[in-house]
């Protein structure tokens, strides 16, 4: 595997992921869409303030796994999640969990940039306003801070009242990131956030994620194995709903223990 050679030097200075604290502990997670068993008995520990990448061919259950963390599968009629996802000692799958507050702490970014057809300012403040924050100065500060974190402030500070749809695709995705960051989430779930973007915008998002992981736990689903190799501390390989292999990104890419992982990362199927 050569994908990692460029990054090796950088990686050496990084802490060993296995020594890090656990943010999300998944125990025997099973997800069903009607009769379709989409995620099968998955258990894994997602480390705090690290980037965890989920890779695997289309339909392998990685997005479904991601969407069960912030309970977005609740929106799909007939979806059933069983097992445990422990976060701060609480099972997120428990029926008594308030999904609205859960989603304030665990944010999400989607494959396709999906800004609201409103102004840039209103996009960033949507979550805050829904949480009951009305004070103008608080909102203004939050907008500036979030846009700076998402690396979009310089480009948009003079046109916060313009429609978000006037931005380019890459800018729109960073706006969606800013919108999620405005909620000050502890965990950020990303579902192929760069697959609709050009290489320059992709590099920008990756750079942002690397700097954000200091304060946020990041779980990213990606089809792009180089991306996983570039940014992830740990990588999980999913195949047909099961978690085949999970470990430090370097180990997984350089010495995969399963033949299926090996053939997937070497591009033999996918």
């Amino acid at each position: 595997m050569y994908v990692l050679t460029l990054e090796k030097e950088k990686r050496i200075v990084q802490p060993n992921p296995e020594a890090m604290e656990t943010e999300l502990k998944v125990n025997n997670l099973n997800v069903f869409y009607g009769s379709n068993h989409a995620v099968k008995n998955v258990s894994m520990e997602i480390k705090k303030h690290a980037i965890t990448a989920l890779i695997g061919p289309s339909g392998c259950g990685k997005s479904t796994f991601l969407r069960s963390i912030n309970r977005m599968n609740d929106l799909i009629p007939g979806a059933v999640c069983k097992g445990e996802i422990l976060y701060e000692g609480i099972n997120l799958l428990d029926a008594s969990v308030d999904v609205v507050s859960l989603r304030k702490e665990i944010g999400m970014l989607f494959q396709k940039p999906n800004p609201f057809p409103k102004s840039i300012f209103d996009n960033v403040t949507h979550g805050l306003k829904c949480a009951g924050i009305r004070k103008k100065d608080v909102l203004e500060n939050a907008v500036e801070e979030s846009l700076k974190l998402a690396g979009l402030w310089e480009e948009t500070k003079d046109r916060l009242k313009h429609s978000a749809l006037s931005l380019s695709g890459g800018q729109q995705q960073r706006l969606c990131l800013a919108r999620a960051l405005a909620m000050k989430p502890k965990v950020l779930l990303l579902d192929e956030p760069t697959s609709a973007l050009d290489p320059v915008s992709t590099a920008k998002i990756e750079e942002l994620l690397m700097s954000l992981k200091k304060r946020i736990t990041i779980v990213i689903v990606t089809h792009n194995m180089q991306q996983a190799a570039r940014i992830a501390d740990q990588t999980a390989f999913f195949y047909e709903g099961t978690l085949v292999e999970f470990g430090n990104t370097r180990d997984l890419f350089e010495n995969p223990t399963h033949t299926r992982t090996k053939s997937y990362i070497s591009g033999q199927f996918g």
Partner: protein, 294 residues
Amino acid sequence: MNAKVTDRLATLCFILCAAITAGTLFSLLGYIVFQGVSHIDWHFLTADASTFQAGGGIKNQLWNSFYMLLMTMFFSVPLGIAGGIYLAEYARPNKITAFLRSCVEVLASLPSIIVGMFGMLLFVNTFHWGYSVLSGALALTIFNLPVIIRVTEDALAAVARDQKEASFVLGATHWQTIRTVLLPAAFPGLLTGIILSVGRVFGESAALLFTAGLSTPNLNFGDWNPMSPQSPINPFRSAETLSVHIWAVNTNGIIPDAKIVAAGSSAVLVIVVLLFNIVARLVGALIEKRWSGK
């Protein structure tokens, strides 16, 4: 026959169908407007209808049509939007929902004369509201409600799923999402649908024959006390609308210029309905343009 010839024949066939549709519309509109427009003048629009002499106008009928329309919309728009939101967002996909949805469809396909008869039995007789603006507006509400429910449900369903998800992942509640994301995004479609239904309500006659009546008291446009019998805004007085007037003048009118009055009224009716349609398109396009950030 080879594929190219078939393709050309099919294209020709579709063009012909489109031409027949457009041709029918234009000849109908052209005929009605051409026949009637010469009779429309300020006097015709602002004079009282006469009972047996020539030279009557349509002032009260025109007023009644608009007033009835306003009241119908006042009842049917909030109810219909609420019903549409329920079906699109809250109803679970089960048998009860399917049954509710087919109820709405059946209601939409009821012949308007039947709705009128029902209105007469319920509002006019049972509730003792008599032939009145209120009875008429409620009958029209029955007739219009399924349309608004349908329009709302379709407009909400047409909002991309990613917009809804975007709002949910930011910790918005379902109602907050409906209010701040879904309804604004559905608004252009919703508004267009409502304005189009306005055209239908404005032109409706059969449902009103037995509910709003064939006569209008001598309206005093200086009297705006809703309880006074001559007041234009009294909801309990009988009210002959423009389309009912066309029917009445044509079938049992004894005025010598019945043909002229009918032609003029028809032209006014058609022009107003046409205006509603044009406004619907313009407003829809304008909002679309404003909100897509151009």
